[in-house]
Protein backbone atom coordinates (compact mmCIF):
# COMPACT_ATOMS: atom_id res chain seq x y z
CA UNK A 1 0.00 0.00 0.00
CA UNK A 2 1.74 3.25 -1.07
CA UNK A 3 2.00 6.21 1.26
CA UNK A 4 0.02 9.25 0.09
CA UNK A 5 0.80 12.75 1.32
CA UNK A 6 -1.35 15.65 0.13
CA UNK A 7 -0.09 19.18 0.79
CA UNK A 8 -2.18 22.34 0.41
CA UNK A 9 -3.17 25.41 2.37
CA UNK A 10 -5.60 25.09 5.24
CA UNK A 11 -8.73 25.27 3.11
CA UNK A 12 -10.89 23.34 0.67
CA UNK A 13 -9.97 25.24 -2.52
CA UNK A 14 -8.53 23.21 -5.35
CA UNK A 15 -7.42 20.39 -3.05
CA UNK A 16 -10.87 19.45 -1.85
CA UNK A 17 -11.69 17.32 -4.91
CA UNK A 18 -8.64 15.18 -4.05
CA UNK A 19 -9.70 14.85 -0.41
CA UNK A 20 -13.20 13.85 -1.51
CA UNK A 21 -11.77 11.23 -3.88
CA UNK A 22 -9.65 9.73 -1.08
CA UNK A 23 -12.69 9.75 1.24
CA UNK A 24 -15.01 8.10 -1.29
CA UNK A 25 -12.37 5.48 -2.03
CA UNK A 26 -11.73 4.79 1.65
CA UNK A 27 -8.01 5.43 1.06
CA UNK A 28 -5.88 6.75 3.90
CA UNK A 29 -3.60 9.70 3.27
CA UNK A 30 -1.71 12.39 5.16
CA UNK A 31 -3.64 15.67 4.82
CA UNK A 32 -0.95 18.33 5.29
CA UNK A 33 -2.24 21.88 5.66
CA UNK A 34 0.35 24.63 5.29
CA UNK A 35 0.50 27.80 7.29
CA UNK A 36 1.13 30.79 5.01
CA UNK A 37 4.66 31.27 6.36
CA UNK A 38 5.61 27.71 5.45
CA UNK A 39 4.80 28.19 1.78
CA UNK A 40 7.84 30.25 0.61
CA UNK A 41 10.24 27.48 1.69
CA UNK A 42 8.23 24.69 0.10
CA UNK A 43 7.42 26.49 -3.16
CA UNK A 44 10.76 25.96 -4.97
CA UNK A 45 10.62 22.28 -4.07
CA UNK A 46 7.31 21.70 -5.84
CA UNK A 47 7.12 20.69 -9.52
CA UNK A 48 5.46 23.92 -10.73
CA UNK A 49 5.62 26.27 -7.74
CA UNK A 50 2.03 25.50 -6.75
CA UNK A 51 -0.05 23.43 -4.39
CA UNK A 52 -1.83 21.08 -4.09
CA UNK A 53 0.85 18.46 -4.52
CA UNK A 54 0.56 14.75 -3.90
CA UNK A 55 3.58 12.74 -2.88
CA UNK A 56 3.38 9.02 -3.62
CA UNK A 57 6.34 6.91 -2.51
CA UNK A 58 8.73 9.73 -3.34
CA UNK A 59 7.18 10.90 -6.65
CA UNK A 60 5.51 14.33 -6.65
CA UNK A 61 2.41 15.21 -8.62
CA UNK A 62 0.84 18.63 -9.03
CA UNK A 63 -2.24 20.07 -10.83
CA UNK A 64 -5.37 19.34 -8.81
CA UNK A 65 -7.39 17.63 -11.55
CA UNK A 66 -4.50 15.39 -12.54
CA UNK A 67 -4.05 14.40 -8.91
CA UNK A 68 -7.80 13.82 -8.52
CA UNK A 69 -7.88 11.64 -11.62
CA UNK A 70 -4.93 9.58 -10.33
CA UNK A 71 -6.57 9.08 -6.91
CA UNK A 72 -9.88 8.22 -8.61
CA UNK A 73 -8.14 5.48 -10.59
CA UNK A 74 -6.62 4.06 -7.40
CA UNK A 75 -10.08 4.21 -5.80
CA UNK A 76 -12.03 2.71 -8.71
CA UNK A 77 -13.90 5.96 -9.26
CA UNK A 78 -12.50 6.92 -12.67
CA UNK A 79 -14.93 5.00 -14.90
CA UNK A 80 -14.68 1.36 -15.94
CA UNK A 81 -13.95 1.60 -19.67
CA UNK A 82 -12.02 4.13 -21.78
CA UNK A 83 -15.30 5.64 -22.96
CA UNK A 84 -16.65 5.88 -19.40
CA UNK A 85 -13.38 7.51 -18.35
CA UNK A 86 -13.77 10.00 -21.20
CA UNK A 87 -17.27 10.83 -19.96
CA UNK A 88 -15.93 11.38 -16.43
CA UNK A 89 -13.19 13.63 -17.85
CA UNK A 90 -15.74 15.53 -19.91
CA UNK A 91 -17.90 16.27 -16.85
CA UNK A 92 -14.83 17.31 -14.85
CA UNK A 93 -13.71 19.68 -17.60
CA UNK A 94 -17.21 21.12 -17.94
CA UNK A 95 -17.38 21.73 -14.19
CA UNK A 96 -13.93 23.34 -14.33
CA UNK A 97 -15.29 25.80 -16.91
CA UNK A 98 -18.27 26.53 -14.68
CA UNK A 99 -15.87 27.23 -11.83
CA UNK A 100 -13.58 29.43 -13.93
CA UNK A 101 -16.45 31.56 -15.25
CA UNK A 102 -17.90 31.91 -11.75
CA UNK A 103 -14.49 32.91 -10.40
CA UNK A 104 -14.03 35.50 -13.18
CA UNK A 105 -17.36 37.06 -12.25
CA UNK A 106 -17.13 36.90 -8.45
CA UNK A 107 -13.55 38.08 -8.07
CA UNK A 108 -13.72 40.84 -10.74
CA UNK A 109 -12.57 44.11 -9.17
CA UNK A 110 -14.36 46.48 -11.54
CA UNK A 111 -17.87 46.77 -10.08
CA UNK A 112 -19.62 47.39 -13.42
CA UNK A 113 -17.95 44.45 -15.14
CA UNK A 114 -18.61 42.29 -12.09
CA UNK A 115 -22.31 43.13 -12.12
CA UNK A 116 -22.56 42.40 -15.84
CA UNK A 117 -20.71 39.07 -15.59
CA UNK A 118 -22.67 38.01 -12.53
CA UNK A 119 -26.00 38.74 -14.24
CA UNK A 120 -25.00 36.77 -17.36
CA UNK A 121 -23.64 33.92 -15.24
CA UNK A 122 -26.64 33.60 -12.94
CA UNK A 123 -29.41 34.33 -15.46
CA UNK A 124 -28.07 32.74 -18.66
CA UNK A 125 -25.04 30.53 -18.26
CA UNK A 126 -25.94 28.55 -15.13
CA UNK A 127 -29.53 27.66 -16.10
CA UNK A 128 -28.35 26.52 -19.54
CA UNK A 129 -25.40 24.61 -18.13
CA UNK A 130 -27.49 22.87 -15.47
CA UNK A 131 -29.95 21.89 -18.19
CA UNK A 132 -27.15 20.31 -20.24
CA UNK A 133 -25.73 18.56 -17.17
CA UNK A 134 -29.10 17.26 -16.08
CA UNK A 135 -29.55 15.53 -19.43
CA UNK A 136 -26.20 13.79 -18.97
CA UNK A 137 -27.33 12.04 -15.77
CA UNK A 138 -28.33 8.43 -16.38
CA UNK A 139 -31.38 6.63 -14.98
CA UNK A 140 -29.04 5.35 -12.28
CA UNK A 141 -28.69 8.87 -10.91
CA UNK A 142 -25.02 8.90 -11.85
CA UNK A 143 -23.29 10.83 -14.61
CA UNK A 144 -21.40 7.75 -15.78
CA UNK A 145 -22.41 4.12 -15.51
CA UNK A 146 -24.28 2.78 -12.51
CA UNK A 147 -21.89 3.75 -9.74
CA UNK A 148 -20.31 6.75 -8.12
CA UNK A 149 -17.47 8.26 -10.12
CA UNK A 150 -15.32 11.35 -9.84
CA UNK A 151 -17.84 13.04 -12.17
CA UNK A 152 -20.57 12.90 -9.51
CA UNK A 153 -18.15 14.05 -6.81
CA UNK A 154 -16.87 16.92 -8.97
CA UNK A 155 -20.41 18.18 -9.56
CA UNK A 156 -21.05 18.20 -5.81
CA UNK A 157 -17.74 19.89 -5.03
CA UNK A 158 -17.83 22.56 -7.71
CA UNK A 159 -21.53 23.36 -7.27
CA UNK A 160 -20.98 23.73 -3.53
CA UNK A 161 -17.98 26.00 -4.09
CA UNK A 162 -19.65 28.19 -6.72
CA UNK A 163 -22.77 28.28 -4.56
CA UNK A 164 -20.80 30.26 -1.99
CA UNK A 165 -20.14 32.96 -4.63
CA UNK A 166 -23.19 32.95 -6.86
CA UNK A 167 -26.88 32.15 -6.87
CA UNK A 168 -27.19 28.63 -8.32
CA UNK A 169 -30.30 27.25 -10.01
CA UNK A 170 -32.41 25.18 -7.62
CA UNK A 171 -31.08 21.62 -7.85
CA UNK A 172 -34.51 20.31 -6.79
CA UNK A 173 -35.79 21.42 -10.20
CA UNK A 174 -33.27 19.15 -11.96
CA UNK A 175 -34.24 15.59 -11.10
CA UNK A 176 -31.01 14.05 -12.41
CA UNK A 177 -28.71 16.47 -10.60
CA UNK A 178 -30.72 16.06 -7.42
CA UNK A 179 -30.10 12.28 -7.55
CA UNK A 180 -26.37 12.84 -8.12
CA UNK A 181 -26.19 15.07 -5.03
CA UNK A 182 -28.04 12.45 -2.97
CA UNK A 183 -25.67 9.68 -4.11
CA UNK A 184 -22.64 11.78 -3.23
CA UNK A 185 -23.79 12.90 0.20
CA UNK A 186 -24.98 9.41 1.14
CA UNK A 187 -21.71 7.65 0.19
CA UNK A 188 -20.39 6.45 3.57
CA UNK A 189 -16.81 7.67 3.08
CA UNK A 190 -17.98 11.04 1.80
CA UNK A 191 -20.66 11.47 4.46
CA UNK A 192 -18.05 10.85 7.16
CA UNK A 193 -15.58 13.34 5.62
CA UNK A 194 -18.25 16.00 5.11
CA UNK A 195 -19.13 15.71 8.79
CA UNK A 196 -15.55 15.69 10.05
CA UNK A 197 -13.63 17.97 7.69
CA UNK A 198 -12.17 21.16 9.16
CA UNK A 199 -14.31 24.27 8.87
CA UNK A 200 -12.34 26.79 6.85
CA UNK A 201 -13.13 30.15 5.24
CA UNK A 202 -12.35 28.84 1.75
Amino acid sequence: MPAYKLTYFNGRGSAEIVRLAFAAGGIEYEDVRLERDQWPDLKPNTPMGQVPILEVDGTMLCQSNSIARYVAKQAGLAGKTPLEQARVDMIMDGMEEMGRKGYAAYFEKNEDIKAERTKEYEETFLPQFFTFLNKLVGDSGHFVGNELTLADITFFNMATLVGTWMKLPDVDEFSGLKKVMEHVTSNPGLAKWLKERPETPF
Binding site: Y70, Q85, A86, M90, F132
Partner: protein
Protein backbone atom coordinates in the same frame (compact mmCIF):
# COMPACT_ATOMS: atom_id res chain seq x y z
CA UNK B 1 -13.33 -1.44 -35.49
CA UNK B 2 -15.20 1.53 -33.94
CA UNK B 3 -15.89 4.59 -36.06
CA UNK B 4 -14.64 7.97 -34.93
CA UNK B 5 -16.08 11.29 -36.05
CA UNK B 6 -14.45 14.49 -34.85
CA UNK B 7 -16.40 17.72 -35.33
CA UNK B 8 -14.71 21.10 -34.87
CA UNK B 9 -14.32 24.46 -36.52
CA UNK B 10 -12.07 24.64 -39.56
CA UNK B 11 -9.02 25.54 -37.49
CA UNK B 12 -6.25 23.73 -35.70
CA UNK B 13 -7.21 25.29 -32.37
CA UNK B 14 -8.53 23.02 -29.67
CA UNK B 15 -8.89 20.04 -31.99
CA UNK B 16 -5.37 19.87 -33.33
CA UNK B 17 -3.97 17.84 -30.44
CA UNK B 18 -6.75 15.32 -31.06
CA UNK B 19 -5.91 15.16 -34.77
CA UNK B 20 -2.20 14.72 -34.01
CA UNK B 21 -3.04 11.83 -31.66
CA UNK B 22 -5.22 10.09 -34.24
CA UNK B 23 -2.29 10.53 -36.67
CA UNK B 24 0.33 9.23 -34.23
CA UNK B 25 -1.83 6.22 -33.51
CA UNK B 26 -2.55 5.77 -37.23
CA UNK B 27 -6.25 5.60 -36.37
CA UNK B 28 -8.65 6.53 -39.17
CA UNK B 29 -11.35 9.06 -38.32
CA UNK B 30 -13.73 11.46 -40.00
CA UNK B 31 -12.40 15.03 -39.63
CA UNK B 32 -15.54 17.19 -39.92
CA UNK B 33 -14.87 20.94 -40.09
CA UNK B 34 -17.59 23.53 -39.53
CA UNK B 35 -17.19 27.09 -40.78
CA UNK B 36 -17.67 29.78 -38.08
CA UNK B 37 -20.69 31.29 -39.79
CA UNK B 38 -22.49 27.94 -40.00
CA UNK B 39 -22.24 27.26 -36.24
CA UNK B 40 -25.09 29.51 -35.01
CA UNK B 41 -27.61 27.63 -37.15
CA UNK B 42 -26.13 24.21 -36.32
CA UNK B 43 -25.71 24.77 -32.57
CA UNK B 44 -29.34 24.41 -31.45
CA UNK B 45 -29.83 21.17 -33.39
CA UNK B 46 -26.39 19.69 -32.92
CA UNK B 47 -26.06 16.68 -30.67
CA UNK B 48 -23.49 18.14 -28.31
CA UNK B 49 -23.46 17.30 -24.61
CA UNK B 50 -22.65 20.89 -23.56
CA UNK B 51 -23.55 23.00 -26.60
CA UNK B 52 -19.93 23.20 -27.74
CA UNK B 53 -17.53 21.70 -30.21
CA UNK B 54 -15.19 19.90 -30.63
CA UNK B 55 -17.09 16.69 -30.11
CA UNK B 56 -16.09 13.11 -30.80
CA UNK B 57 -18.68 10.56 -31.81
CA UNK B 58 -17.65 7.01 -31.03
CA UNK B 59 -20.07 4.32 -32.13
CA UNK B 60 -23.06 6.54 -31.44
CA UNK B 61 -21.87 8.11 -28.16
CA UNK B 62 -20.85 11.78 -28.12
CA UNK B 63 -18.04 13.18 -25.96
CA UNK B 64 -17.16 16.86 -25.67
CA UNK B 65 -14.32 18.85 -24.02
CA UNK B 66 -11.16 18.80 -26.10
CA UNK B 67 -8.81 17.44 -23.43
CA UNK B 68 -11.24 14.67 -22.45
CA UNK B 69 -11.41 13.68 -26.12
CA UNK B 70 -7.63 13.96 -26.51
CA UNK B 71 -7.03 11.73 -23.48
CA UNK B 72 -9.43 9.14 -24.90
CA UNK B 73 -7.71 9.13 -28.30
CA UNK B 74 -4.28 9.04 -26.63
CA UNK B 75 -5.47 5.91 -24.83
CA UNK B 76 -6.56 4.30 -28.08
CA UNK B 77 -3.17 5.19 -29.58
CA UNK B 78 -1.28 3.73 -26.61
CA UNK B 79 0.22 7.12 -25.76
CA UNK B 80 -1.12 7.80 -22.25
CA UNK B 81 1.80 6.48 -20.24
CA UNK B 82 2.44 2.94 -19.01
CA UNK B 83 1.47 3.14 -15.32
CA UNK B 84 -1.15 5.16 -13.42
CA UNK B 85 1.69 7.31 -12.10
CA UNK B 86 3.15 7.86 -15.59
CA UNK B 87 -0.33 8.81 -16.79
CA UNK B 88 -0.72 11.24 -13.89
CA UNK B 89 2.62 12.86 -14.69
CA UNK B 90 1.63 13.19 -18.36
CA UNK B 91 -1.67 14.80 -17.28
CA UNK B 92 0.14 17.15 -14.92
CA UNK B 93 2.56 18.34 -17.61
CA UNK B 94 -0.27 18.92 -20.06
CA UNK B 95 -2.24 20.88 -17.44
CA UNK B 96 0.81 23.05 -16.74
CA UNK B 97 1.21 23.64 -20.47
CA UNK B 98 -2.42 24.69 -20.73
CA UNK B 99 -2.03 27.26 -17.96
CA UNK B 100 0.57 28.99 -20.12
CA UNK B 101 -1.27 28.24 -23.37
CA UNK B 102 -4.29 30.11 -22.02
CA UNK B 103 -2.23 33.30 -21.56
CA UNK B 104 -0.83 32.89 -25.07
CA UNK B 105 -4.30 32.49 -26.57
CA UNK B 106 -5.55 35.59 -24.71
CA UNK B 107 -2.71 37.52 -26.31
CA UNK B 108 -3.38 36.22 -29.81
CA UNK B 109 -7.12 36.91 -29.57
CA UNK B 110 -6.69 40.47 -28.21
CA UNK B 111 -8.40 42.77 -30.71
CA UNK B 112 -6.94 46.09 -29.56
CA UNK B 113 -3.59 46.48 -31.33
CA UNK B 114 -1.72 48.33 -28.59
CA UNK B 115 -3.05 46.07 -25.84
CA UNK B 116 -1.99 43.10 -27.95
CA UNK B 117 1.53 44.45 -28.38
CA UNK B 118 1.75 44.92 -24.62
CA UNK B 119 0.47 41.41 -23.94
CA UNK B 120 2.86 39.98 -26.54
CA UNK B 121 5.83 41.63 -24.84
CA UNK B 122 4.67 40.51 -21.42
CA UNK B 123 4.12 36.91 -22.51
CA UNK B 124 7.45 36.73 -24.30
CA UNK B 125 9.43 38.20 -21.40
CA UNK B 126 7.55 37.16 -18.28
CA UNK B 127 5.68 33.93 -18.92
CA UNK B 128 7.36 32.01 -21.72
CA UNK B 129 10.99 31.86 -20.53
CA UNK B 130 10.26 30.43 -17.05
CA UNK B 131 7.85 27.93 -18.60
CA UNK B 132 10.47 26.69 -21.07
CA UNK B 133 13.17 26.55 -18.40
CA UNK B 134 10.84 24.55 -16.17
CA UNK B 135 9.89 22.11 -18.92
CA UNK B 136 13.52 21.70 -20.03
CA UNK B 137 13.96 20.36 -16.51
CA UNK B 138 11.02 17.98 -16.89
CA UNK B 139 12.21 16.56 -20.22
CA UNK B 140 14.44 13.49 -20.15
CA UNK B 141 17.77 13.29 -22.00
CA UNK B 142 15.92 10.90 -24.30
CA UNK B 143 13.61 13.69 -25.44
CA UNK B 144 10.56 12.35 -23.62
CA UNK B 145 8.64 13.93 -20.76
CA UNK B 146 7.44 10.65 -19.28
CA UNK B 147 9.22 7.32 -19.34
CA UNK B 148 11.27 6.21 -22.29
CA UNK B 149 8.80 6.45 -25.14
CA UNK B 150 6.46 8.87 -26.87
CA UNK B 151 3.45 9.94 -24.86
CA UNK B 152 0.73 12.47 -25.49
CA UNK B 153 2.54 14.93 -23.21
CA UNK B 154 5.35 15.10 -25.81
CA UNK B 155 2.79 15.66 -28.57
CA UNK B 156 0.89 18.23 -26.52
CA UNK B 157 4.10 20.18 -25.93
CA UNK B 158 4.95 20.02 -29.64
CA UNK B 159 1.48 21.25 -30.58
CA UNK B 160 1.59 24.16 -28.17
CA UNK B 161 5.05 25.22 -29.31
CA UNK B 162 3.88 24.96 -32.92
CA UNK B 163 1.48 27.82 -32.13
CA UNK B 164 3.90 29.72 -29.90
CA UNK B 165 6.92 29.66 -32.23
CA UNK B 166 4.76 31.20 -34.93
CA UNK B 167 4.74 34.35 -32.75
CA UNK B 168 8.13 33.86 -31.04
CA UNK B 169 10.34 32.14 -33.65
CA UNK B 170 13.53 31.69 -31.62
CA UNK B 171 11.81 30.65 -28.41
CA UNK B 172 13.25 27.12 -28.27
CA UNK B 173 16.84 28.08 -29.10
CA UNK B 174 19.26 26.55 -26.63
CA UNK B 175 16.81 24.14 -25.04
CA UNK B 176 18.49 20.85 -25.95
CA UNK B 177 16.05 18.45 -24.36
CA UNK B 178 12.95 20.33 -25.50
CA UNK B 179 14.27 20.34 -29.05
CA UNK B 180 14.73 16.57 -28.77
CA UNK B 181 11.09 16.24 -27.69
CA UNK B 182 10.04 18.27 -30.75
CA UNK B 183 12.19 16.11 -33.03
CA UNK B 184 10.83 12.90 -31.55
CA UNK B 185 7.28 14.04 -32.21
CA UNK B 186 7.95 15.30 -35.73
CA UNK B 187 9.71 12.11 -36.72
CA UNK B 188 6.80 9.87 -35.63
CA UNK B 189 5.61 8.51 -39.01
CA UNK B 190 1.90 9.21 -38.49
CA UNK B 191 2.59 12.72 -37.20
CA UNK B 192 5.04 13.47 -40.02
CA UNK B 193 2.44 12.45 -42.58
CA UNK B 194 -0.27 14.59 -40.95
CA UNK B 195 2.01 17.65 -40.69
CA UNK B 196 2.64 17.39 -44.43
CA UNK B 197 -1.00 16.87 -45.42
CA UNK B 198 -3.06 18.84 -42.91
CA UNK B 199 -5.12 21.83 -44.12
CA UNK B 200 -3.33 25.14 -43.64
CA UNK B 201 -5.38 27.46 -41.41
CA UNK B 202 -4.65 30.72 -39.62
CA UNK B 203 -5.37 29.30 -36.17
Amino acid sequence: MPTYKLTCFNVRGRAELIRLLFAAGEIPYEDVRIEWDKWPELKPISDTPMGQIPTLEVDGQVICQSMAIARFVAGKAGLLGKTNMDQARADMLLDGGMDVGKLFTEMVMEKDASKKAEKKKEFGEKHLPPFLALYEGFAGDNGHFVGDSLTWSDIGFFNMMDFITAEYPGALDGYCKLNKVIDNVKSNPGVAKWLKERPVTNH
